[in-house]
Assembly symmetry: C2
Homo-oligomer: 398 residues x 2
């Protein structure tokens, strides 16, 4: 058995896991908050998947550092261990870069809606103290409109006929784009201690590239026959810019467009749910982080955690030789209609259903999970997390 | 013009409306919080519908008095003037009755989840001070399981074949039911100053009545040929038990089952949305409170206020001789998955879209309403109401 130490109301092991360098702390207040007092105990428990994540989007709406710390608390209470910080996107650029301060000076919603270096450190350190890794995402080349507020030349001019019609994805033919990304990545390597780095690569508006006469010329000259190939070229140029020792994480489109990906790359699957697709990614030597069925922004009257719980990517695969390369999954809280007011209530306890699916053995009756989730929602509330009622009528004594 | 007085940040008129006995106070911080300072002004504005309500269900989940007061604040900021307090239901009986204390002693979730007389008075007085009426609902004969915890004999024994299978709606053949309701109504008349009283009448499990041998006997002896008639008999016996001067409010089923209703009865329409149905209710001499399209418990990914805003019962009717008898509507926040944690965020600003539909002239472009709602959500947040983002990405400076 592992050596244990007890810190009310969490129980931590001394031994770090292979995947997480920090010792995992597990909420165990049933032991310490119950009437029974325990002198010593031994617990055998381990996670089925090493990557148990929650994506939080801080671009569509800004989330305060306090809001993020509350999310981290609840993640640790729910045995989630990766905060996927989708920090910037089209709508705003709230990350303050020391190297490129104009990005947030001009691209954030407001000067008060910016993560300064101290803010990022608070989040990173709070996560570390809870056994949670912070996986930063700077999504390129799409979802980058906010970068263009300060640096419009980074983005592609889209055309309708002969007239310009706004800015699209980053311009894959512009050398400055790659120079900037290289410098930014170097900075981010210092700021985020995580060896994984998410470069996005999803939902690129290829039609904008196709509409631009200069890009058309470039494609002709370089014998590039499709804009998909251009996307592949972009990712293929960008990924090597990551600092040494960094392992890339990409959305599935990057794999779909046949970009040669370095060994160990994590492919985040968010569209596909078929056995064939997963086999295809895994047999190409990549590992999968699964999110297709765990989008927390999809709402259903009366609740939907049962759908989240029923979804099991390793069961979809049903192929023992590959299934361990599905290293886990992430519940995704896209921020279009979520900010500090409703973030915590919308995430909790729904993400805890995903957390149990990722931690526990396959199967597990939903009826029993229902009771656990009811209890867990109330436990979260007692600890200050405003978890919404998961199961219909009831009462939680806070 | 009406005489005005100004109390930051609300503007109140001295003249009570015909329908609301309190002077309406209207949020007008655009005048008083803006850079422009105003010495005197004159405003012409009036509501299209006199009954602009929000139903809050405190039985499926208990809502604290603090939670209700916050709802009242936001209602006044949004020009809603009726809190329909669906106070008890199957799941719990949180109302403390001086005459029948066992109802909540045994039927509430917990002793701490009970509205004592002082609690009810706080809500009623806070509402009055904000120009809001409190319309209490004690739903009978269905939705009464919690009454049966203390008084099981009030409820009908349901049968499957020859064996009893739990308790159903109130027993319409039991004289004690009516004796108790009479006493309870007398108490409630003192507690709630409102002249309207909602007796429910929805979703009665008629099959339980049909399964009970004693009720079968009763129907035979009294020449009652259907359980619908039995429901009519129940409502027809119950409504006259209301204290003198009380005007009943009923869910539409009571009208549908042809219960003779006293003049002035409000029929709350929640299932039907057809022109013919509304004409039918109105031409029978009743008035309509409309809710069919304004159920806040129905969720839609990305938001749904546009659907609420597009719905206009008087436009459905398109019949000027009757349309004024649609006196208004109510947004309904059923409490199955809502408690203090997520009540305010789920209601606001969605209910404000209903409020504008009920206050303002017919029509109104959704695109313009979109801006007003964004601004209003931010205004609510500045005043301490955690209104969720209504329109997708954005930023509210609190």
């Amino acid at each position: 058995m592992l050596a244990l130490y007890l810190r009310t109301p969490t129980l931590c092991t001394q031994e770090p896991s292979l995947y997480v360098s920090k010792s995992p702390c597990i909420a165990y207040d049933r032991l310490v908050l119950s009437e029974v007092r325990i002198n010593a105990t031994s617990i055998r428990d381990w996670p089925r998947h090493p990557h148990r994540g929650l994506l939080v989007d801080t671009s569509r709406h800004f989330v305060t550092v306090g809001g993020l710390l509350r999310i981290l608390d609840a993640m640790s209470y729910s045995k989630l261990n990766v905060l996927h910080w989708h920090i910037v996107d089209d709508q705003s650029f709230p990350y303050y870069s020391e190297r490129f301060p104009n990005l947030s000076d001009m691209g954030a919603y407001h000067w008060s809606a910016v993560y300064r270096p101290g803010d990022v450190q608070r989040v990173v350190h709070a996560a570390r103290d809870r056994g949670i890794r912070v996986l930063p995402e700077f999504d390129v080349p799409g979802h980058t409109r906010s970068w263009g507020v300060a640096y419009p030349s980074l983005l592609t001019k889209c055309y309708v006929g002969n007239s310009m019609n706004g800015l699209g994805p980053m311009d894959p033919t512009n050398r400055q784009v790659y120079d900037m990304l290289k410098d930014l990545f170097a900075e981010l390597r210092q700021v985020f201690p995580e060896k994984y780095f998410h470069v996005g690569g999803d939902e690129v508006d290829l039609s904008c590239w196709a509409s631009n006469p200069q890009i058309e010329d470039y494609m002709l000259k370089n014998n590039i026959s499709s804009t998909n190939q251009l996307h592949a070229l972009f990712m293929n140029t960008t990924i090597p810019l990551l600092s040494a020792g960094t392992i890339p994480v990409v959305w599935q489109e990057v794999f779909d467009e046949r970009v040669p990906l370095p060994n160990g790359t994590l492919v985040q699957v968010w569209i596909s749910n078929s056995r064939d697709y997963l086999r295809n990614v895994l047999s190409s030597g990549h590992r999968v982080v699964y999110s297709t069925c765990w989008y927390l922004d999809h709402l259903k009257s009366g609740g939907d955690w049962g759908d989240f719980y029923a979804c099991d990517p390793r069961e979809v695969l049903r192929d023992s030789s590959l299934e361990n390369d599905i290293i886990g999954g992430e519940a995704c809280m896209w921020g279009e209609v979520v900010d500090d007011t409703n973030l915590a209530t919308r995430v909790w306890p729904r993400a805890a259903a995903v957390a149990e699916r990722l931690w526990s053995a396959a199967g597990g009756a939903a009826a029993a999970a229902r009771h656990r989730l009811e209890e867990h929602a109330c436990r979260l509330r007692r600890r200050g997390i405003p978890a919404q009622p998961p199961n219909g009528p009831g009462f939680c004594l806070v």
